[in-house]
Symmetry: C2
Subunit: 360 residues, 2 copies
Amino acid sequence: MVNQHRYCVIMCGGIGSRFWPYSRTDRPKQFIDFLGTGRSLLQMSYDRITSIVPPQNIVVVTNAMYAPLVKEQLPEVCDHNILLEPARRNTAPCIAWAAHHIAALDPEASMIVTPSDHLITREREFEASILKGFDFVENNDALLTLGIKPSRPETGYGYIQIGREVEPGILKVKTFTEKPNRELAEVFIETGEFFWNSGIFLWKASAIKQALAEHAADINNIFEQGNGIFGTDAETEFINANFPSCMGISIDFAVMEKAANVYVECVDFGWNDLGTWSALYDNSPRNKDGNVTQKCRVLAYNSHNNIFAVNSDKLVVVEGLQDYIIADAGDVLLICPKAEEQRIKLMVNDAKEKFGDTYL
Amino acid sequence: MVNQHRYCVIMCGGIGSRFWPYSRTDRPKQFIDFLGTGRSLLQMSYDRITSIVPPQNIVVVTNAMYAPLVKEQLPEVCDHNILLEPARRNTAPCIAWAAHHIAALDPEASMIVTPSDHLITREREFEASILKGFDFVENNDALLTLGIKPSRPETGYGYIQIGREVEPGILKVKTFTEKPNRELAEVFIETGEFFWNSGIFLWKASAIKQALAEHAADINNIFEQGNGIFGTDAETEFINANFPSCMGISIDFAVMEKAANVYVECVDFGWNDLGTWSALYDNSPRNKDGNVTQKCRVLAYNSHNNIFAVNSDKLVVVEGLQDYIIADAGDVLLICPKAEEQRIKLMVNDAKEKFGDTYL
């Protein structure tokens, strides 16, 4: 039987701009059936946690504008488990709110915090890893992050360097490392001491509150003013009035890189953050020409290793394209070599500068 | 004052499949504002003839399915001047009908027959050429075709070889030649004896009827059965019953290549048949990167000499594309190198085979 003190926080307020225009401000990546499974990434994130924590303990934190999408895609989640951020402030304020909210409901709560837009292919290993992580944080004063066993010298991820092992598979964190260059990433892999930073965390609500108080007092003080309000009808009004005052900062930067009680559980459950078109391409089924197709119909001639991401049953006909992203979202069409996808951010900025919010 | 016996037949029943998907079966090339002038190619064809023949003598022949488009774009043309073909049968049956129709209204009629999807840039020269052609066919037993002074060894056009001059600028036709290969086209240009076959004709209605009787009796006999019916309320019923029995054949093949009284007027009025994407590209204004844009908004990075043909105010963002056609028609997107555009016909066939008429 699942532990009634265990909670899950699914963060789904991001805008997924790296997948523009397939991912749009009004329907970001996590709300899309990115892998053609019939379930969006958010729904898949929800599904895989339901065997681990009681469904009524699953809390979704998102931007207020995505409330209708969340309710449409997760009708099982009741309204008071959907926390609506009135402004975008990165993960630290999001987690601070969720921790205060959950601690008010259950002072003994432990919680997993997870992004909603990642791919996890081996769900049984995932479940076992999370159960083990809950056991650890419930029995230790610990902030636990999941480190993914690296399979290649990926330069798109942050890395965690491990220290001494405190129990099998759980180690002290020595350092957090930003995205390395190729040479450094190769060294990381060779040493065996570095794991990918997954952005999935476990801790007791009380432990993360304590850590926020110590390392991110500016943010924590804002939520401390709401004591007695969390979990009541007044919470929304309090958040709308005070949440925007928080500075935008990630939980890694605000807390994890500073706290002394940070541990990493080394896991290997087929994880990919699907953070880039190339990652999506690598994790999608390909046809014999190496082309990946999202939903649309494609006639491809002399064209290989492309990804076609089109939100409709449009027919896409291509001749002579190799290694391109072809993404069509009705009012925006993007054609860009996969190798140049880091330039998409610039393109979004140019589109905004020239045409305002029309195409965001 | 314009001559009341002069008529114009504008043929606009083609489906423009070479410009698929920008040109679609339900809105072919001639109905599109291809050059961004605010007028479709059909409207431009109509406009340039209004100073030459009386407006009430302008007859439009099209496929029945395009009746609404013609009426929308040419509200000046009354219903009884719109001849609706119940089937596609190429130009010979189209012209045979128009000739019988006009001859019934006016036995002394002379007529120009013109496609509706060509570009003519020098309208004053066009007008002078047409007036001269009318004079010639009204005073001679002649079938006159307009030969365009070639400016390059174009392999996409048919050529007309000229014979002896019968009056300044008007010569006997020696031969009609199919599309030549590059080497032959270069020889054609060097000799000075060859002109592009424009598909624009002038003749008396009685002369083309006579020529059809001699050289295309199968077709002509069908229309001869309708004598007494053309120009009356019974014409539509007669045509719907009999037109489909005609074989599909071009007027060049059925008559012009066989008749003895065929002449060519050598003209030079900035003509282009806009028969290919490359021709459209060559005749459209380019930006500093050599990109041509039809209607849509484009953000182009490291991309040159492309043509963007999109029937909406969609934003098209491209990186690293050179010499491509990017054509979007809502439910179909085509991305094809300009150099491979002859393959579009094959693509249309494949689309038809796989998806029926959905995307035609």
